[in-house]
Structure formats: C-alpha cells, structure tokens
C-alpha cells in the first residue's frame, strides 16, 4: 500500500479509527514490506506474522465494539527489540544462551502497549544482551543499515527506517538504540530513568538502561512514550513520567555546547552537520551557551565500571540449569556452568563479565566499583549544576558513522562518548537525523535534557524536524 509509506503511527491510527483502512490491512501492508526488505536488512530475529494478523483482527473487533481502553495508536503495527519479554514467545536478547527460551510472562511495557491495541509484528535484532553500540554483536547476525547494508544496526531502527514497522520499542541498554536511529535516518527518544518500567526487559546494566522508542519523527516517539511511561508496582525504581507537553516555544531556550566535546576526534562531516543543526536551532529562537560537563574525563570510565559490574551480576543467572542453553554433556556441576556459559555466551559478553568480576572483586578490586559509585554521585550533582546554566545539551550521537570494529573494546567505548552520559545520569535524550555524510549515510545529533525534561526535548526536536526534511528520507531498495 503505497499511501502508507512514510506516514507516522498517529496518522495511521487516525486512518484506522476513521475506518479508511482496517487493522488487518495495515498489518498486511507491514508484512508485505517485511517480505520485500527483510532479506537485505535482517531487522527481525523473528517475524510473527500469523500472530500479528490474529491480533489485528482482535483489535479491529475491540475498535468496532467501541472499546474505550484503546489508544490513538490502536491497530498500528510495531516491533519490540528481542530484549522485551512477551508471554509465550521467544525472547533471546540476541544471545545463543536464550535460544529457544519462551518467556513465561509479559513485560509491563508490552502489557501497556497491548492494552492500547498495539499489533506486534515480531522481535528485532540487538547486540547480545544489549551490550553494544551498533547491534553488531547479535549472536544471530546483526540487522543491516538500509542506507549501507555493510553496516550493522539495531533492528528496531532498521525496521522503522525501511517502513517495515511504524515504531519500535526496545532497551537502550548500552546506547545502540539511540546511536542506531539517526544512522538509519530515524529518530529516537530515551526517557528519564525510571519513567518506563524495566519489568520484563532482560537486564544488563540495571542502573543505566532504560526502554526507548524509535520512530520516524520525534513526535512519533513521543506518542508511544505517552503509552508506556508511568509508575509500575512491579518495578520499584519507577516513578511517574512528566506531562509530555511539547508546545514549549524554542525562544529563550538555552542549548548547552559542552566544551570537552570540541576535543573529541570525530568525522568532519558529523562535526559540520551538528554545527549546522545548532545554527538551525538558533534560527528557531534557541541560544547556544558553552557548558562544562561534570568530571568530563571520567564519565566513560565510571559508566563502564558500573555497567560491567552490573552485567556480571545480572548475567550470572544464565547457568544452564533452569532455561536457555544447557550443556547436555557436562559431567558435573562446574562443567555444566563452564560449558553452558562458555559455549553460549559471546566474546563481548564474556569480556564484560570478566571486567565486571574484576571491578567488583574483593581482592583489591572492590575499589573500582566503590570509587565509580562515589564519582557517580558527583556526576549526578554536577549535572544538576549544568542544568542551571542550560536547558539541554547538544552533541553528535557518535563520532563516526561507521560501525564498531569487532573485538576492539576501546573503540566501542570511544563510540559511546556522547551517548553514555545520559545513560549514566539517567537523563532523557533524543537523537535526530541531520543530514547525510559523504558516503550517503545519515548522521544525527543528540539533545540531552534535565530529569523529566522530555517535553522540551521533544519540542526542540519537533521544531527542528518541522524546518528540515532529513527524517523523511526513506532508504532505497536494491534493484529499485
């Protein structure tokens, strides 16, 4: 259905409500696009087409019966990253360790989407246990950036980019979701830590990760966030999210430009595109102010020490005993642990577990984690201070458009220099596409806001997207 290409979830929701199109037709459209494009871009780990059609029929019935619990996005086909548990369906989190595992329960965020009438097309690829910046380490092969299929990407961003799904929800585990979206030419929104329940998101870096949304426009993301945010009795770290009011005027908004970022080695194209974006924001009425980030040189080390410690603890449950991969030939308990984990976990995951064990180890190493926690406190306080001087922080999303180099852990860290601080400080952030580089790959900028400052971020992102059209470009198909 050509007329559905490029439209957003809210527009599709309106078409469905006005009966211009049925839920089943919308789902069929998505399944057709998936069939056409999946062989090139491999966004999905599993397409559940039959289930999607059945659930579309169900939503249509609810719609026809006048069910008032349906959301404005009822009947809109969407995807979840494979880190989000859906009862009775496979959840691998991109790892061989969980191959064949069927989740016995549903995540809160999926329950909320489902209650509103979301139609799930399937689960998309992500880094193994979300430990990555580009989707590269997915044990079943990464999704491919439709702008250059040699590049790895997160599946959700890919699915939205090539029109397979109208929006995607996943874990912003490390930072791959935010980093991938603009490189696929679409937008992403990570809300304030705690405003979306983590119950049912396969855990990696519990203090730092948060569910995020990918949509073509930042307003698409905002519509979805409104459905999933809010306190959850099953996640004690949740709080109610802010009113998502994006009608803020850009006039007078102060956009912080971190001075430490000027020294970061980054692609010339990216530097120019982000500077151009900053000029555009000035034109729209915002003012640019220089700011200094707290403990700027220590943000990444603190982030990784905390992340690795939590990963080593969170991933210890994959022991081959209750579910997931289990070494059948193990002779005793220790062999069962060693062989199950040794065979089924990828090298990136093992590296993080080993580092985490070192950082937490009582053998002198406990200092690392303790010190990181102390620094974390200072960083949180420091950001409070930063936000007295500006309303949000502008940065690129990543220093390079190319993906990571497999096996190069330091490069992975360097690539998250702009996105890790928001994760570390639990801040909301949006990433917005802002042009193509010389190789024709989309680039993006990121705005990081104060806690509960999602509304302002969306307002600025929306202001920018109203004045530009970078987000409307759809990658071509090979052979087209």
């Amino acid at each position: 259905m050509k007329e559905l290409e490029g439209i957003g979830p809210l527009a599709l929701g309106r078409l469905i409500q006005s009966r211009a199109i049925s839920c089943v037709e919308a789902t069929r459209h998505s399944l057709e696009v998936i069939q056409r494009r999946e062989h090139q871009c491999s966004a999905f780990l599993k397409v559940t087409g039959e289930q999607a059609l059945t659930s579309a029929q169900g939503v249509q019935k609810r719609l026809d019966a006048g069910d008032e619990s349906l959301s404005p996005l009822a009947g809109v086909p969407m995807v979840l990253s494979d880190s989000v548990c859906v009862k009775g369906t496979a959840t691998t989190c991109g790892s061989k360790m969980l191959e064949g595992f069927l989740s016995p329960y549903s995540s809160t965020l999926w329950e909320r989407l489902q209650a509103g009438g979301a139609v799930l097309l399937g689960k998309t690829a992500l880094d193994e246990f979300a430990l990555g910046i580009s989707g590269e380490s997915c044990a079943f092969g990464p999704a491919r950036n439709p702008w250059d299929t040699r590049l790895a990407s997160e599946g959700g961003a890919v699915a939205v980019s090539c029109g397979e799904a109208f929006y995607a929800v996943g874990s912003d585990g490390f930072v791959a979701l935010r980093r991938s979206a603009p490189f696929c030419g679409v937008s992403s929104l990570r809300p304030t830590y705690g405003t979306v329940s983590r119950y049912g998101l396969v855990a990696g870096t519990s203090s730092l990760e948060q569910a995020g949304v990918v949509g073509r426009t930042i307003l698409d993301c905002a519509q979805v966030l409104a459905l999933i945010q809010g306190r959850d009795s099953r996640d004690s770290t949740t709080v109610d999210g802010p009113m998502l009011d994006w009608n803020t005027s850009l006039r007078g908004l102060r956009i912080g430009m971190p001075e430490s970022y000027l020294d970061v080695e980054l692609d010339l194209d990216i530097r120019q595109a982000v500077l151009a974006a900053s000029k555009q924001l000035e034109t729209l009425g915002a003012s640019l102010v220089p700011v200094e980030l707290p403990l700027a040189d220590d943000l990444l080390p603190v982030y990784y020490v905390m992340a690795c410690g939590e990963i080593s603890s969170n991933l210890a449950r994959y022991d081959g005993i209750r579910y997931g991969y289990s070494a059948k030939d193990a002779g005793d308990l220790m062999e069962l642990y060693r062989q199950s984990r040794g065979r089924a976990l990828g090298s990136r995951v093992k590296e993080h577990i080993l580092l985490g064990n070192l950082f937490l180890s009582g053998d002198g190493g406990e200092d690392y984690h303790q010190k990181a926690l102390q620094a974390w406190e200072l960083i949180l306080q420091g950001f409070e201070d930063v936000f007295t001087r500006c309303d949000m922080i502008l940065s690129p999303t990543a220093p390079r458009t190319v993906g990571e180099k497999p096996g190069d852990l330091l490069e992975l860290y360097r690539q998250s220099i702009f996105t890790a601080p928001a994760s570390l400080a639990g801040l909301p952030a949006v990433t917005i596409p802002c042009g193509l580089d010389a190789k024709g790959i989309p680039m993006g900028f990121q705005l990081t806001g104060k806690p509960f400052g999602e509304g302002e971020l969306i307002a600025v992102g929306h202001g920018y997207q109203s004045a530009t059209d970078f987000h409307l470009r759809i990658p071509g198909e090979v052979g087209e």
Binding site: S83, V84, C85, T91, C93, L98, F101, S103, P104, Y105, S107, R198, Y199, G200, L201, V202, A203, S206, S207, S233, R234, D235, S236, T237, G309, E310, S312, S313, A316, R317, D319, I321, R322, Y323, L333, Y337, N357, L360, S361, G362, D363, E366, H369, L373
Partner: protein, 476 residues
C-alpha cells in the same frame, strides 16, 4: 596459661509473612515442590524484586525488641555466587547499611545476668532446596523456599561458655515467638544457627582465628559444637599448629565437626548495591508507631507476674514458655480474678496434658473462658479437684463447656444440707461402733465416718458441709 573459648552466633530465622520477600508467592512450608514460584523468585530474565513491607515491619519489631539502633536509611546488596538453589546467582541481602545495629540481649547465667551484644540484624532472601533423587543419580531443585524472607541476627563474640549460647538462643527464640515474626522451628529450618568459635589466652583480650560451624540441629548441639571446636583449636595451638579460617559442618551423631570448605581468599562474593531496590527510608514516626505496638516481652512478663501477682519465678517462667501460654494465663486470670489458681492449673495439670500429648507451648489451644469457668467452679466448691481434673481433660481434648459437662454427667457437689444430713444420719446409724469410739475420744474415727458419708454421696459431698453436719450430730 589457661585458654578461653570465644563464640558468636549468626541466627537465621524465616519470617512468617504471608508472602515472600520480593514477590507475591505464598510463604509456606511443606507444599508440593515448585508450586509456590513465579518469574521473580525463579530468576527469569527481566523479572524484578519488589520489597514486601511486612518484612521491614518484622525486622523493625525484632530490632526494637533487641534494643538495636534503627537505620534511617537502609539498602540491599547482592551477594554473588553460583549454586543451583540460587536462581539469580546472587542472594539479595544487606551488607553496607543493615536495618538494625548495636543491640543487646540479657541472659541469665549461674553467676548472674550477662548482656550479649547484637552486632546487626539484616533482611535477606532464602535460597531453594536441593533434593537428591531417590532412585536416580541426580539432584532436583525445589524453588518454593526461594525468596522466603529471612532475618539474620548476628551476635557479638560475647559467649565464653556453652550454657551462655544456649541461654541466648532460648531467649532469642522466645522473643521472636512473642513478637510473632517467626515460628522458629529448627526441625523445619525456620531457625538455623551458625556458630563462630575462636580461642584465646584467658584475659588476653586478643582475637583468635575463628572457624564457622554450620548444620547444627538443636540448641544443645550448638553447645556441644562450641565445646568440641574450642577443644580442637586449643589442641592445635598447644601442639604448635595454626587454626585455619574454615567453614565446618557439625555432625551431632558423631559429636564431631568436619571441614566443609576452606575460606582462604577464595570466598569473594563481589557484593554490589542492588540497583533494582531503591534506598529504603525509615521515619521516626514509623519506628515509634511500631514501638508502641510491640507486645510485652517474656522477660517483662515474668517480672510482672512475680511483682504484681505474687507468682513464683518457676511458675512465671513456665507461663511465659510461649506467647500462647502467656495469653491464655492472662485471659484466664482476667476472667477468674485468681492468678494463683490460674497459674496452678496451667503449670500443673495443663502442662502435664501438653507433655503427655507432645503439644508444644506455642501450639496450645485452650479457651480461656472455659478455663476460668472451671477455676470458678472449683473455688466455689461446685466441684471438687478430682472432678476438676476430669473437666480439664474434657476442655483440653474436646473443647467441652465445663458447666454443661458437669451438669450432664451429674458431677456437681451435693451442697443441699438436707441431702447431706440424710446421708450423715444413715452413716451414723449404720456405724454405732465408730460413733462411740469418737465419743470416747478416738478422734480418728471421725475421718472414717466422713469417708463413709463421701462414699454414699459418690465423692461429691461438699466437704465443709459434711464435716459440719457430722460434727453436729456426734456432739448431740
């Protein structure tokens, strides 16, 4: 130079909350394996813990009863280790900021009372249970116990004799039972004791290298383990060897400890603040509110029973054997206004019935109103003590109503003067020899005649009435 054994204990008690500590599963003992489980307590990917408020309340009750400092802010930490009974591969516990610290408990020793320090009380989750397959060479896991709430109560190393540890454990158990926070059943594992033992030269104040003893199945066994382990360490040191920091398993049948694992540097739990559980703030109001609802503790009850009711220390102790017994005593006393009679009945015949039927003091279920009614009947002479025993058994076994039972069985005293007089006259007429013996100064004959009257009244004659009327007739 003589040696001194120094010991401390870590007591784990399972709390008797309705649900587990971090999920809504029932907290119950003895269910079919793996029927009380959910994604949270089996560590499914993505599941998160939510703290059961009742566990906090129970921990605070214990902390207040043991005179602890209550933390204003308390946090949970993960203790990471692999074991099949631990589905998340970490136990959620409290390392850095436990909920209660610096308390004490006074125990009675032959040389007077002694204060035992309580280093800390913290909340944590229990692990599952490994069950070895009855016929095949494999091990099964039952996760029902995963997430059952535990308090770990850690004493200071203040014990220097086995009887002190035993007195402490008895007293601690009694307090926890009175608080109603745990059923403290060692045989069901809801109270478990780990013992730390070291030795030092007497009076030196130095700290020896301690070992930890696990798998101790009774309070008496804790005492035996302490003595045995102390002796072992002294022998080692006297022969010039070193005590190794190790965990040992107590075999009470063999009266011997065995090495379970050597600690060395290998035990590294890689503690980590649990990112899924926010800091818990405890307000002064919350603490005061709980303090005001704390029940009277056994020690205070004993003092009050002696001071206000004039009971003996021995009776006071028996009456505070459990919350249930004390409540029964207090209710009965309130109804019959006779603490000594109530005490006699409970400490005497009722205690005997409990022993005969192996009823634990905490399982005793007797209606105080019925007990009080029985006491009133005995005191007013409505029934005699022999009948009283029979009625008590009926109350104990069948929850019988004493008034109804006595009426139905016709057990009430014959207190009608006319009936008694008729019986006395008959006996006097039938026993002229005894009558004349009495009148000739053989006072013993009086007792014989009373016995004859009682026999004719089937033992239910009011003794005072019988005595009075007989004396009257004989003096005529």
């Amino acid at each position: 130079m003589s040696w001194e054994i120094v010991a401390g204990v870590e007591v784990h008690v399972e709390l008797s909350t309705n649900t587990k500590i971090f999920c809504g599963c029932a907290n119950a003992f003895g269910a079919e394996p793996n029927t009380l489980i959910c994604p949270v307590c089996t560590g499914m990917p993505g599941a998160l813990p939510v703290l059961n408020r009742r566990v906090v309340e129970y921990a605070l009750r214990a902390g207040l009863a043991l005179d602890c400092d209550i933390a204003r802010r308390t946090t949970f930490d993960r203790k990471n280790y692999f074991y099949p009974d631990l589905p998340k591969a970490y136990q959620i516990s409290q390392l850095h900021l436990p909920i209660c610290q610096n308390g004490w408990l006074e125990i009675e020793t032959p040389t007077g009372s002694k204060r035992i320090g309580i280093r800390q009380i913290h909340m944590e989750e229990d692990a599952g249970k490994l069950i070895h397959h009855p016929t095949r060479p494999c091990t099964l896991v039952d996760y029902n116990r995963c997430g059952v709430p535990l308090l770990e109560i850690v004493s200071q190393p203040d014990f220097t004799a086995a009887h002190e540890v035993i007195a402490y454990l008895k007293s601690l158990r009694e307090i926890l039972l009175f608080l109603g926070v745990s059923d403290c059943k060692m045989q069901e594992g809801s109270l478990r004791v780990d013992l730390n033992v070291s030795v030092r030269h007497k009076g030196s104040g130095e700290q020896g290298i301690p070992t930890e003893m696990k798998n101790i199945s009774s309070f008496q066994a804790v005492g035996r383990a302490m003595v045995w382990e102390g002796a072992r360490q002294i022998q080692l040191l006297e022969s010039g060897e070193e005590v190794l920091r190790e965990t040992r398993r107590w075999d009470d049948g063999k009266n011997q400890g065995f090495v379970l694992r050597s600690k060395g540097g290998a035990e590294d739990y890689r503690y980590l603040p649990d990112p899924d559980l926010p800091i818990l703030e405890i307000t002064q109001e919350q603490v005061e509110q709980l303090r005001s609802t704390l029940p009277e503790l056994p020690r205070n009850k004993r003092a009050r029973y002696q001071r206000e009711m004039g009971l003996s220390p021995q009776d006071a102790r028996t009456l505070t054997a459990s919350r249930e017994v004390a409540a029964l005593f207090e209710k009965t006393t309130a109804l019959c206004q006779n603490p000594q009679e109530a005490a006699n009945l409970i400490v005497g015949d009722l205690a005997r019935l409990c022993t005969e039927t192996a009823t634990l003091p905490e399982d005793l279920q007797v209606d105080a109103a019925k007990l009080a009614a029985l006491i009133v009947m005995i005191r007013s002479g409505k029934i005699n003590r022999t009948v009283g025993k029979e009625v008590l058994e009926q109350i104990f076994f069948h929850d019988a109503d004493p008034a109804v039972y006595v009426a139905q069985k016709g057990l009430a005293m014959v207190d009608d003067p006319a009936l008694v007089e008729a019986a006395v006259r008959q006996v006097v007429e039938a026993n002229p020899k005894s009558v004349s013996d009495y009148q000739n100064g053989k006072k013993k004959a009086f007792g014989y005649l009373v016995g004859q009257v009682m026999r004719s009244l089937k033992g239910k004659g009011d003794p005072a009435l019988v005595n009075g009327i007989l004396r009257e007739l004989l003096e005529e």
